[in-house]
Structure formats: C-alpha cells, structure tokens
C-alpha cells in the first residue's frame, strides 16, 4: 500500500561569505572596520548547515525535493554559492548588494529571507542556518527569521532527525547545562552548532558540475526589502595590548598592591 502523499521537503540554506577563519584580522587605518582585502570563504557554521541539508537528502532520499542556497552579499559572494552547489545543493539565489555598501545586518537579512520564502512557489519547509557568522558573531538571524515567519525554531542543533510523515523534527540542542532534546513541528528554522557534522570537501568533479547549476540573481528592491543598516559603527579598535603582570613576594604585598589599585575589601 502506498503511503499517503507526503509533502516533499523544500530546504533553504542561507550562507554568508566571511573572512577566512585562518586569516589574521587587522583593524583598518581609519578605525571604521576590519581590512577586508584578505581571503574570504563560507562561514564555517554555514558549511555545516549545507552539509546537514545534503545529509538529510542522503538519508530521506526523494523526500527532500530541493535544496536551495541563498546569500545576501557583494558580487564575489557568488563564488561562495558555487562552493555550496558543489557540496550538493541544487540551485542558488544571490541577492546582490553593491561592493561598497555596508554589510547587511541580521534584521535586514531575516526580512530578505522572509521575502524570499514568500516568493518561493513551492514553499519552504526547513531553513537551516549557521548559528552565527564568524565576522560579527551576532547569532540573531535564525531567531529573527523564525519570529518574522511565526515558525518554530531549534537553535544550536547538534543532532537533527526529521520525520516527513509526521511533519516533525526531533532536535538535540547544545545548551549551557548540557543537551536538550525538543520536538518541533515543520515548517522549522534550525541553526547549526559545531558538533552537528563535519562538512565534506567539494570535490573537483562536483565543482565542475556546479558550474551548470542555476543561480538566480535578485536585488533588495526586487524583494521589497530595505537593507540599509540601522546601527552606526562609531569606532573599531583592537583590544588593549596585554601588559606584563607582576610577581609579589608575600600576601601583605599583594594586599597593598590591591589597595593601591583602588580595590577595597568586600564585607
């Protein structure tokens, strides 16, 4: 007996092009930001997200209808999309922002994603994002998107099991005290944590195949979204250089030094 028609899953994976994690960051001379003339790559947590989407397809097979990756960024971000396509995504969407414009903020990104999801004719059942981007460490986009869409959210996921028949997902989350297991109804916003999986390499044959996969180009105005930042960065500086510590000979000396520094005893 054939099972009742299960709606096939459409997965959306937003990714971000960030400075490569191995590069040494430098504040630019104007102190307005970081020197971006360095190597960029896909945000490592987003790589985990793409990997999870591809693994879901490997596990659920035909139940996963499509995996789309989307990025909101400058023209060069299409290279990052190609890497995701080489890892196993089907198609890409590039919301292009001009090279010189400031990086979009989480709320702007969430609104753009909301607009894209509304546009998708087939709908979206699962959005898998990285838990945070390694350049701003904001960790807000997934949560904001879930709020805007009114969907369930499971963040900092370290294990995901999807049941397409029940339209539910069982997610293990990394929390301060340990692990928390929750059951969520689809449609669902997930954000990935480090222990979820180890991303695969984009192999050369797959990179060559990825060149033929479609990338749709959109602009913020096509989506009816304003990506102008609400926050203004006043100044960016490096953390103060560590000065050497001092060794003291006795407890009394330590107490005296603490007093000199203006630290008073409690109680």
């Amino acid at each position: 007996m054939r099972p009742s028609a299960v709606r096939l899953l459409n997965v959306l994976v937003p990714i971000k092009r960030t400075i490569d994690y191995a590069v040494k960051i430098r504040v630019n001379p104007q102190q307005t930001g970081v020197d971006t003339n360095v190597k960029h790559s896909m945000n490592p947590f987003d790589e985990i997200a793409v990997e999870e989407a591809v693994r879901l397809r490997e596990k659920l097979k035909d139940a996963v209808k499509s995996i789309k990756v989307i990025t909101i960024g400058p023209p060069k971000a299409s290279e990052t999309l190609r890497t995701a396509l080489a890892m196993g995504a089907d198609a890409g969407i590039h919301v292009e922002v001009p090279e010189a414009s400031p990086s979009p903020e989480p709320l702007g990104v969430a609104k753009a994603l909301q607009a894209v999801i509304k546009r998708e004719k087939e709908g979206v059942d699962l959005v898998i994002l990285g838990k945070q981007a390694i350049d701003d460490d904001a960790g807000q986009t997934g949560q904001m998107l879930a709020g805007l869409m009114g969907w369930s959210q499971a963040t900092f996921a370290s294990k995901i099991v999807v049941d397409t028949e029940k339209k539910e997902a069982s997610v293990t989350r990394e929390i301060d005290g340990g692990l928390e297991e929750i059951r969520c109804r689809l449609p669902l916003v997930l954000t990935t944590d480090l222990r979820l999986n180890e991303p695969r390499y984009a192999s050369l044959p797959n990179i060559m195949k990825a060149k033929k996969k479609p990338i749709e180009k959109l602009s913020a105005s096509d989506l009816g979204v304003d990506l102008t930042p609400i926050l203004e960065t006043l100044k960016v500086t490096e953390p103060p250089k560590r000065t050497g510590g001092q060794k003291v000979e006795s407890v009394d000396e330590l107490v005296q030094k603490l007093k000199d520094a203006g630290i008073t005893a409690v109680a």
């Binding site: 040494k24 003339n37 695969r200 390499y201 192999s203 050369l204 044959p205």
Partner: protein, 602 residues
Amino acid sequence: MIRARGHRALVRQIRALHSTARCRRELFDPSTVERASDEVDVCIVGGGPAGLSAAIRLKQLEQEKGNEVRVVVLEKGSEIGSHILSGAVVEPRALNELLPSWKDHPDNPLTQPALHDHMRFLTPNKSFWMPHPPQMSNKGNYITSLSRFTAWLGSIAEEMGVEVYPGFAGAGLVYGEDGKSVRGVTTNEVGLDRQGRMKDAFEPGMEFRAKVTLVAEGAHGSLTKQLTKKFDLRKDCDPQTYGIGLKEVWRVDPSQYRPGEVMHLMGYPLDNKTYGGAFVYHMADGLVTMGLVIGLDYPNPYLSPYSELQRMKHHPYFQTLLSGDATRIAYGARTLNEGGLQSIPKLSFPGGALIGCSAGFVNVPKIKGTHNAMKTGMLAAEAAYDAVAKTSHESEEAADMTKYEETFKNSWVYEELKEVRNLRPSFNTPLGVFGGVMYSGLDTYILKGRVPWTFRNKQKVTDASHTKRASEVQPIKYPPFQPPLSTDLLTSLALTGTNHAEDQPIHLRVTKDGKEDLEVRRKHVERNVGEFAGLLGRACPAGVYEYVEDEEGAKTAGWGGKTLVINSQNCIHCKLCDIKVPTQDINWTVPEGGGGPKYTIT
C-alpha cells in the same frame, strides 16, 4: 539459516555503532583506487605568472586561429595568489607582449612605477652608498605585490575561458602505457587521516588526461622533481642553486614613505661567506615591502634566516624607516632559483614541458624572474597549441614540445640570461662575497658577459653539500626579539594565514633511497643533531621542524635523547627544507589542496 540471519543482523548492528570509528577505516591503496577522469587539451600545474601567462596565450591563439583548446589550471593555494610571494619590481616586457593594452584595464595592480634606484652597504651601525650594476636600474618597471598581480592575471584568464581550479594540487603524473610519456595529472586525495586511512569524507583525486602538461610549480616543484628524475632532465646542466627570500610588508609612517623608491642593501647582517642582500621597495598605498634574500649555499648551519631578518630591522636604517606610526601587515618566505643559464634543465619531455621557475629563469643580478617566467609560459603555450592539434589522447606518440626549447634559445630570455651567466657563480670562489662584487663590477660595466668563459659547477656541488659541520664553524648568537619591531617566529607566522587540516598525512616525508622507515628517521636525527646542530630547526622560516628532548621516543625514532617533530600545519610551502637539509632526506610533497599560506599583499 536462522543462525546466519541472526549473525548478519548482529554484524550490521555493530557496524552501525562504529560507522565512523577509526578502527574501521581502511588504508588507502593508490593502485586500486578509481578516479573520476576528464579529458583536457592542456593541463597547467600551478597558477602563478608562468602558468597563467601560458593559459592566457593559449586562449589568445584559440581566438586568433580558431581551433578550440580546453585549458585547465590547477593551483594548490586556496585562491590564485595565495601562495605567491616575491619583492617585487616587475619588468613589464612580457606583459607588454601578452596584453598590450594592460594599462587600460581598470584593476591592473601595476600602479606604482619604480622611480629611484639606490644601493647601500650596511655595517652593523652605518650605511654607505654603493654603485649598482646597470642591470639593476629599474626605469620603466613597476613596484607591486606579485600576489595581487597574479590574482589579476587569474581573473583575466578566467574571463577568457580558462578553467581555473584553486584548492586542488597537482599531486601525481599520469604516464603513457609504455611509461615513457606524460599523459596528464592527478589531483591530491582528500579525506585521509594521519595514518593514511580513508575517512568518511574521503574522495580520491581526479585524473586529468591532457594532451600537453605544462608544469609551472615555481622553484623546486614537487612534480618537477619527479619529472627530472624520470626523464633525466638534468643530465647536461649544473645543479640548480637557490636562495631563500623572507619578507615583511609594513604600513609605514607617512614621513618615511617615499613612493617609487627601490633600495637594495648588502653587507650586514650577512658575512663575507654568505651570499645575499636586502631589499626595500615603496609600493602604492603607503606600503613598504622589505626583505632579505640569503643564498642557500650558506656554510654555517647555525644560521637562521628568520633571525637574520629580525636583527636586520634593528639597524639604524630600518629603525628609522619603521619608526613612528608603522604596522607590520604581512610576513612570508619562499625559495628562489639562483642557478641562471647553467642550471636550466632540458625543458621538454614527451607530453609536456617546464615553464617559469620550475625550470629556473631568474635573472639574479636584476633580481627579477617574473618577466622571464611569463615569457617562457607564452613560448610553451605557442608550442603546445600546435602540438595539441597534432595529438590525440589515444595516440601512441605523446605531444612533442621540442619546438619550445628552440624558441626559448632564440628568445630574449636566453639572451638576457646569457649576459649575466657568470655573475652569481663568481661569488663561489675563496674570495667570497668580495670577489663576487669585484668580478660582477667588471662584468656588468665592461664585459657584459661577452667573454668566452662560463663558470660551471662541474663537480655538481649542491646547496646542501656546501653546509659545513657545526664543529667547523662558530655558533651565531642572535639578539633577543624586541617587539614591535622584531617578534618571535610564531607571531610572524600568524600573519601568513597558513593552516592545513590537521588530520591528514604529514606532507613532509623523511625518506632516503626509497625507504621511509624508523631507521631513516633515526639516521636523520643522528646526523642532523650530531653533526649539523639541528639545521632544519634553525632554518625553516615557519617553525615546522623541531628537534625535541624525548628520551622515550628517541629509543625508536631518534638519537641522543632527541627526536624530530614535524609541525606540518605551519608549513608555508617555501621548499627550503627539501633543498637545504644536509642529509637530503626530506621530500616535500603536496598536502591537501587549499591549505598553506593565504598571502594577499606579498
């Protein structure tokens, strides 16, 4: 029957529990692996100036003459330019031929012309004016970051339809059935663990079957080594000799910035027995690129190129240059060829050719090799284009690239190298650097190489064999580092952005005469620590090699209570170890692609 079913179910359960456990991983066997394969017309290993110039030239010929040619460039760096390090003052001679309208290109990085040339001699505390050979005049040349220049060439190549694949190293060669010709290249395997076993993410390297393979790996390339051995390409030439170039890029105080200034320095910190010198070039955007080149035939095993660079910065000349509001933004190192005309091997082999620094075309007195690398790339491309039309993948005869050798001999590259062929060898007499300077003065100002003699290295003395024993020399005492001007090695190393995935086979192999066992390791430690004061630990500009105290480990793999630790993750792909190790038992092989330094401004 029931028992068998039960047993199978049990095995399946156990397998499910241990699906990624290390004990279940299989060892990788290169002879039985199945590779994805693709056919191309020309496969170029190395996305540097030579490789990209060849690629661009091929596509130009395709547009001119009509025969389509599929060109693939493989580059082990994560991006084009990531593994490129040089001074650099580029002579645009080859670029003018390759892309005559390059000046109109909006992104071209040749924005800072070289304006003034200077040469000075440094003593520990002072500096004196020195005359410089006419070859070192830089009128018409440009000061630029070669990494940026190469990235720009890469974008042009891609626009023209070249398939550029960064992140994939040319790891092995595909030979014809008779083993006498090269039919292509294989890329590196990914997903092997430290012991060489296949992880879940394992993918075998891909095979590119190419009618013509152009090897453009830069100085002392790994495939070049294999080819040299297989086809005996060095039968009739002198051994290649090398220098190590280490450099830093600083954003200097505006008061110290003199755009277009080209300064070369000799003397301190190097002694009369050590060939080398320093350079300081003022690039565009307030940046100064400065560094030190040391000939790898240096005799004293205590010499540490990194420490020489650091102590040089405390000379009054550099103290002033780097005073005020100065920040260091880059560091890196790479070996370069110094052998000149006498060390050029046979350039072609059945099915391919060597271009650029893989063969070795650096004009040492000019301290320039980029224009020669680009030109040889272009010449090889022209020969390859014709060869591709005449060959097929299945034919018995591999592509014949001998035309390239002819065109090379008739080119301005050959002429240039012929003129300066005696200069570098003239430093290898008992008169040391002094003798070299004197002869070079004579030759460059008056003789201009028009002499019947050519200084040869008939005894085939290599850089490694020039090294004296520790007992025969005085240890060098380096001053402690004084931040912010000079720092320790690991702080500088962080600026290279180098990294390699940790769980992969170590790409630096300790191997001698085909053997790679503990005995080889023991002998290596015994000779290097016992006789040569642990040279690699002092010489490597990335802190890869350490001879550490390890009583237990020394019993099996060490000597004298010490073992060799190879921190291969730090490697910046300079190749110094392979060249200089006195026991000649380090084989540099390619790691997983995409690792290594992430240079952008060097």
